[in-house]
Symmetry: C2
Subunit: 443 residues, 2 copies
């Protein structure tokens, strides 16, 4: 029997809580999960039970939003969180974002490769550029313009990969009899000098079971595509619909081909959010409960929804627990600038209340399915079979039970349908992502 093509799944860890910033107030949640490293380890173990290919920790080294009522978006420290997880898992991949704009390549190379060796070849680096002026200020810098950021990114990744390859694969002889610890002819400086970064090397760390960490990429635009095509084996993308996802995936694959690579060696993960219930109504209830924790934000959300369908909606002029009046609705049209708009309009036209439409997640930054496990599985299957992506970056609404529910309720359906694996293919992230072995600089 021919093996069906199978999707890959990445679980995004959003600080300790989940995609919804009120998740910390849910009954059963640990409000202090931000500082409780157990919360990361436990979710990673659950994800490993569910055969997720990897966990993924995004990062921005700054306080990017007020913590008055919402939880932080990023963990205290991504590499320490992954180290804790590495000790208590065996197969799942460990991917973290660190900036190429505000880190020394030597430090990046060292910490990622050390973790890759310690975890027996399960690490990935999501190499991003950082435009946030708050981050720049934290590093005593002015904001760095886009061109310079991407030039720095190319230099940083090349230097990091060169350092990763500077301890050759057979350099560690470890011969107790003769007393040769390593063959120093095979541990050589790299002597790279760029415009922004330089290093001498070598990095004194031997290869891991997968050679070296897998490069991920997440930025958009022409510069992001080039970086992905040249270096990345995984791309985190944020499409809102199948068509734009298909298009973006093709563009990424073409970029890889332009750099002489096999397009199948670059995997696109589409961001995806979900809320589960035994029924769609129950799932919506859960989202409304999350929304109701911050009633003061509802006016802003209503007006934002209005802008998506070109109506001046306000909590003062409409009852958000009712459908929109037909005479209002007939003037609405989906904003061509926002790919989420057609779904928003469609739900309103189906007669859902404004609150319910918001609860469906139409203004979230990834597609949302609020529904049953089958509805979630249907969505993932449809996108995947349409070639919209190679897998998904899954962001649960609230981590404390969302991860377990996905693992226990959705994964078995995907496995049953033959579109998600039943077991890890290998021991390393490269094996489990089906991307080639790599050592040293990408050729």
């Amino acid at each position: 029997m021919e093996q069906k093509k199978q999707m890959q799944l990445s679980l995004q860890m959003v600080s300790g809580y989940g995609a919804e910033f009120n998740a910390w107030r849910m009954p059963g949640a640990d409000p202090a999960a931000y500082t409780n490293i157990d919360s990361y380890v436990e979710r990673a173990k659950l994800a490993e039970q569910g055969k997720f290919q990897m966990i993924f920790i995004a990062d921005t080294p700054a306080l990017t939003s007020s913590l008055s009522t919402k939880t932080p978006m990023f963990p205290m420290d991504p590499m320490l969180a992954l180290m804790a997880v590495a000790r208590e898992t065996k197969h799942i991949g460990l991917v973290a974002t660190l900036s190429t704009t505000f880190n020394y390549p030597y430090n990046l190379a060292r910490q990622f490769k050390a973790l890759d060796v310690i975890s027996h070849g399960r690490v990935g680096w999501n190499a991003v550029t950082t435009s946030d002026p708050n981050v720049a200020a934290n590093f005593g810098s002015k904001p760095v313009n886009r061109q310079e950021r991407y030039e720095k990114a190319h230099e940083a990744i090349e230097i990091v990969q060169a350092l990763w390859g500077s301890w050759q694969e057979d350099a560690w002889t470890l011969d107790v009899e003769t007393g040769q610890f390593a063959d120093m002819d095979k541990i050589q400086p790299v002597h790279l000098q760029g415009e922004y970064y330089a290093t001498r090397g070598p990095l004194p760390i031997p290869p891991s079971e997968q050679g070296q960490p897998v490069i991920f990429q997440a930025g958009g635009g022409q510069e992001g595509l080039e970086l992905a095509g040249r270096f990345a084996s995984g791309v985190y993308a944020n499409p809102y619909d199948i068509e734009s996802a298909q298009e973006y995936r093709q563009t990424i694959r073409q970029s890889a081909a332009q750099f002489g690579r096999n397009p199948d060696d670059i995997k696109m993960f589409a961001g995806f959010m979900f809320s589960l219930g035994a029924t769609e109504e129950e799932a919506l209830m859960r989202r409304k409960q999350l929304m109701d924790f911050n009633p003061e934000e509802i006016p802003g959300r209503v007006s934002y929804l209005g802008s998506m369908i070109n109506l001046p909606l306000s909590v003062h002029s409409i009852d958000i627990d009712q459908p929109l009046a037909p005479q209002l609705l007939q003037r609405a049209y989906a904003s061509p600038m926002d790919p989420r708009s057609p779904k928003a309009l469609q739900l309103l036209q189906q007669g859902l209340s404004v609150r319910d439409v918001l609860a469906h997640g139409v203004i979230n930054y990834h597609p949302v399915v609020a529904g049953t496990p089958v509805q979630v599985a249907d969505f993932l299957e449809e996108w995947f079979l349409a070639g919209a992506c190679d897998g998904f970056s899954i962001v649960p609404d609230a981590s404390f039970d969302g991860v377990a529910d996905f693992v226990h309720l959705v994964i078995p359906i995907l496995q049953e349908r033959g579109i998600f694996h039943n077991e890890y293919e290998g021991n390393t992230l490269r094996e489990n992502m089906a991307v080639p072995y790599q050592y040293g600089v990408q050729k």
Copy 2:
């Protein structure tokens, strides 16, 4: 009964092996301990059994010596090693060196404080400056001169401490009922601008159980003393004899007083090496076994020993397994430039062979006792009671059994004599070091 004054003990982890670079070849050693994080965790657990106040990981981000026959001097990554240890220990302090010369203060502040929170207040930062030109080259820099290094160190530590204090102690309200996650009036930028480093902040990490990590210092000279006096609660020092240790300790204490601090709040740890045996002869045999792994180094050691006692010793002109001839020995005198010389001369005058004198560790970079557990305990007691130090930075010859032997054989003697504690005084490093709580910049 009055409580005797008690020494503190820090266990130095030298990559995976021990102070002697041939330790990887000892029967029973794990030759690949460098990449085996278990080796760090197991030794730290042993040290915790022995009530060591802390483990200590030194660091230099470069390959500092050939690995042809010797093991690396530093672990793959100090912070990841400490994170692994933090998860599997409860009381022992976790101290790592990271350079103030080649790290962004924001990154330093973040990773150390995150680990401090995760470990429930057990972390210390040994803030050093880096002169090594190989390190500078790894970071794309020319070597940094001494004055600039220390100016950078002052700026870096001040910025790091300011960031540590930028999330005020009562800022994290975590009120599930009202929905206030944190009081943003108490999480403020620090806006520090130095000559070399600057940061905006805040660092979004709450206080740990000890407020913030403990600062350690290890550099010498007037600049090192000032840095220690201003910031450090712990100092790693390298005296060879009691007199110079007493003098250095007094100087450090005076420096703290000059910065308005209580001299008792700065603890000096003297580096100390040992090899244990049931008899002194057995301990010497162990050291000779370690030495014999690299016979090609013996000529250099013999000639180095000669320079300490002002004799032109060579393996070609003497039999190193015999005592020196009296007519040769009578021309010898201890080099006044090297405080290790009198001991070397004394042992030779006692009629020990040259090989045995070398085995006693007279040319090692810390004082060495090769002897029985009682001899080791006697040495530590004598130094401690003479006020030569507040504790010791213990460096076993070979980690695989050296740590266990020290814990099982030496610690009980120290406890029996009342000069080492039987139990941890508290849960945090500050409590166990008896140094004051600290939050934000040292006043």
